[in-house]
Amino acid sequence: MKLRTFKKGIHLEEYKEFSCDKKIEQMPLPKQVYIPLQQHIGAPCEPLVKKGDTVKTGQVIGRSSAYVSAPVHASITGVVKAVDKFFHPLGMRVEMVHIERTGDEDDWELLSIPENWEKAPRVELIKLINDAGIVGMGGAAFPTHVKLNPPTDKKIDSFILNGVECEPYLTSDHRLMVEHTDQILAGMNIIMSILNVENGYIGIENNKPDAIEMMSKRVKELGYSFLVVPLEVKYPQGAEKMLIESVLRRRVPAGGLPMDVGVVVNNVATAKAVADAVLEGKSLVERVTTVTGDGIVNPKNLLTRIGTPFNDLVEFCGGAKDETTMVFMGGPMMGQAQYDLSVPVIKATGGIVCNTSKMITMVKHFPCIHCGACVDACPMYLLPTQLAKLTEHKKYEEAEKLGIQNCIECGSCAFSCPAHIPLVQWLRVGKMRVSELKHKQKAS
């Protein structure tokens, strides 16, 4: 059978064997956590606690009145030591709540949940999901309640659950699908009834046969009507727009959102978080994170509290080898290099990868030879080499005309460039400058 897929894209070494067979382990409660008040796309939260306050697990400690935002919760029971700026894994100093654990107890402050969610009004469920602080856990961290509440003029007819996990190394979603199948399916069911859609698809890359089998089996046994769709192993299969094309053969218009073609996409970890919130009243205070890479002694998939410093996770996995030269959060294609392992796990931390110099090499740049490898790779049909050159020469207006704002920053171009030109890096700069320019034009 020919697997569904999208056009272009690249094939990567997977390196998933480090951790794909390791069961999810519960991390012991951390001594202290640093909880960033901004972990999502949208407005940052205002702190609701101050130094010296005692907090319970699941207690709201930050909230914003903006619509596109999600509250943050304390992830352990303890005392607030400080509300100050600390280093964030995305590379800046962000206001965080530093909580130190007191004793061994783990008192949960649960959300009030409806007795029977199926009878609860839709608005109430969306509010519950918002209160639980649920954001997209695949990496972008877009507040989920916004996705679940599309404008009324957009008719949503399909929901896709994203279990693709196309980034190399990461296996947290894979393990979730194998070990927490029922919760994920329950979460998907809840999301679908909130959206009031009939067609549910679960997209999984074909390199996870056990997950495909497990999900199909439970879907059948639990009597859901979801369709499990095995997909070709190709990067960036998990990108929202690519996934929609692969599964439904629909193309999201340039500059548009999935809802423009009647689709909502959510990650499997998000679906599980929704089930935890709606069925058990648990706010989003923990997530599964893969700690892996050839620099880690024992790669593992860990269930960890949000705010746990990276150091704790790395040490729990036996520590990093001396040869480790690079640590990044997320996968190698779109992740973020870290210079300090005191940064905390955030809601979007799918993995922590420690690599030795064997995996990370310094490369020499060559001039562009117009081979077109980046053009063949770009899943958005852009001309990365031209856009990079235009950015380099500060011709932002022309770059905008050539569609630089459509770039999804997947990194396929930079990966495939034989001249090792930092293409996606230039494109990121270009995108930033173009949007600055637009802001300026709007202001004047």
Partner: protein
């Protein structure tokens, strides 16, 4: 802001102290970088993603193309003897020397190791007739590198294929020497049909014979290569072997040879079907002259061919069409060089006009 200032001054104070003894006293303000994770004292490497990269690189591509030309070089030596060795090695040396001198003058890093100068010299030599003087090879190589490539800014910046530009220069400067041919050592005199005079055959390539004498050449010697012609272009067998190697390694876009050869076969075939007595068969078109060498090694030059898929088709089919027109109706017997150079010149325009619709773009 205040915090930062304090940290900065702390650092300055720390730096000014000699590191004779480590101060055991607790610092008044903790340096936020104290607990940085430093395996073996080295800080972690920082960079922007992606952290994974293809194993291909530019020198590898260039050297692979040169490697793929090995069968053609061997063919040249078999058919034309030691003269071929002289011409090829002198061309390469001249090209590399020019590249080195110009990079020195431009105060740029040495670029000899990327293999592009080597390739240019090699390709240029393979397109020259075996009787061509060695000093002319030097001149051609110098022109190809200096005015074909470096004057535009070096590798990747040139508009025209440097080797072909060098050959065009030689063609314009020494038209007689560039069209004086000898038969290879193992030439098969039975291969020529029509009114054969031995003088005519020693002085021309199969395409020249066709154009000026209306003599058709058999396909078998054309395929093996024991006919008159430039050093590396006579043997279709050798070029195909190298060309297929390149396509398998994906160091050449398969669309270019397919489009180029296909359009020559189709356009040439149309005329052949109209009048087989006057016009040669498509197979003759494909196997004669420099077409195969051009289609596999010249037109596929990444620098001077379009980057878009649609553009690549336009480029290759256009080159084929121009070639057939030159061969059948032009003043010259062969047109591979000019057809490719013309399409090279159009490449920036083709790129601009064939930009793919971006994902989800609505364009009228």
């Amino acid at each position: 802001m205040e915090k930062n200032e304090i940290t900065a001054s702390d650092q300055a104070a720390e730096a000014s102290e000699t590191p004779k003894k480590k101060a055991p006293a607790p610092k008044p303000k903790k340096d936020p970088r104290d607990h940085l994770y430093k395996p073996k004292g080295r800080p972690l490497t920082m960079s922007s993603s992606p952290y994974s990269q293809t194993k291909d690189n530019v020198p590898k591509i260039m050297w692979c193309v040169s490697l793929a030309l090995t069968p053609a070089v061997i063919g040249a030596v078999i058919f034309f003897g030691l003269k071929a060795v002289y011409m090829i090695s002198i061309s390469i040396l001249a090209a590399m020397a020019t590249e080195w001198i110009i990079t020195r003058i431009r105060r740029k890093p040495n670029t000899l190791d990327d293999g592009s100068a080597f390739l240019t010299g090699l390709l240029l030599a393979l397109t020259l007739p075996p009787t061509f003087p060695v000093s002319g090879c030097v001149l051609g190589s110098v022109f190809a590198i200096a005015l074909g490539k470096q004057i535009f800014g070096g590798l990747g910046c040139n508009i025209f294929n440097p080797a072909l530009l060098g050959r065009a220069f030689l063609q314009a400067s020494f038209p007689v020497k560039m069209t004086t041919w000898v038969l290879p050592r193992y030439a098969d005199m039975n291969a020529y049909t029509g009114s054969v005079s031995p003088d005519a055959i020693t002085g021309a390539t199969p395409l020249g014979l066709l154009k000026y004498e209306k003599i058709f050449t058999d396909l078998k010697p054309l395929f093996i290569g024991n006919v008159g012609g430039s050093l590396g272009e006579t043997s279709a067998l050798a070029i195909l072997a190298g060309g297929i190697f390149l396509l398998i390694l994906r160091h050449a876009d398969w669309r270019i040879p397919v489009g180029f050869l296909g359009s020559v076969a189709i356009f040439g075939g149309i005329f052949w079907m109209v009048d087989p007595a006057t016009y040669p068969s498509p197979l003759f078109h494909l196997l004669s002259g420099g077409l195969l060498l051009g289609a596999f090694f010249m037109a596929t030059d990444m620098v001077t061919s379009p980057i878009t898929i649609k553009g690549t088709w336009i480029y290759s089919i256009g080159a084929g069409l121009i070639l057939v027109i030159i061969r059948l109706f032009g003043g010259l017997p062969e047109g591979v060089m000019y057809s490719i150079l013309l399409m090279n010149g159009l490449t920036p325009l083709i790129n601009r006009l064939t930009r793919p619709k971006f994902f989800g773009e609505a364009r009228a």
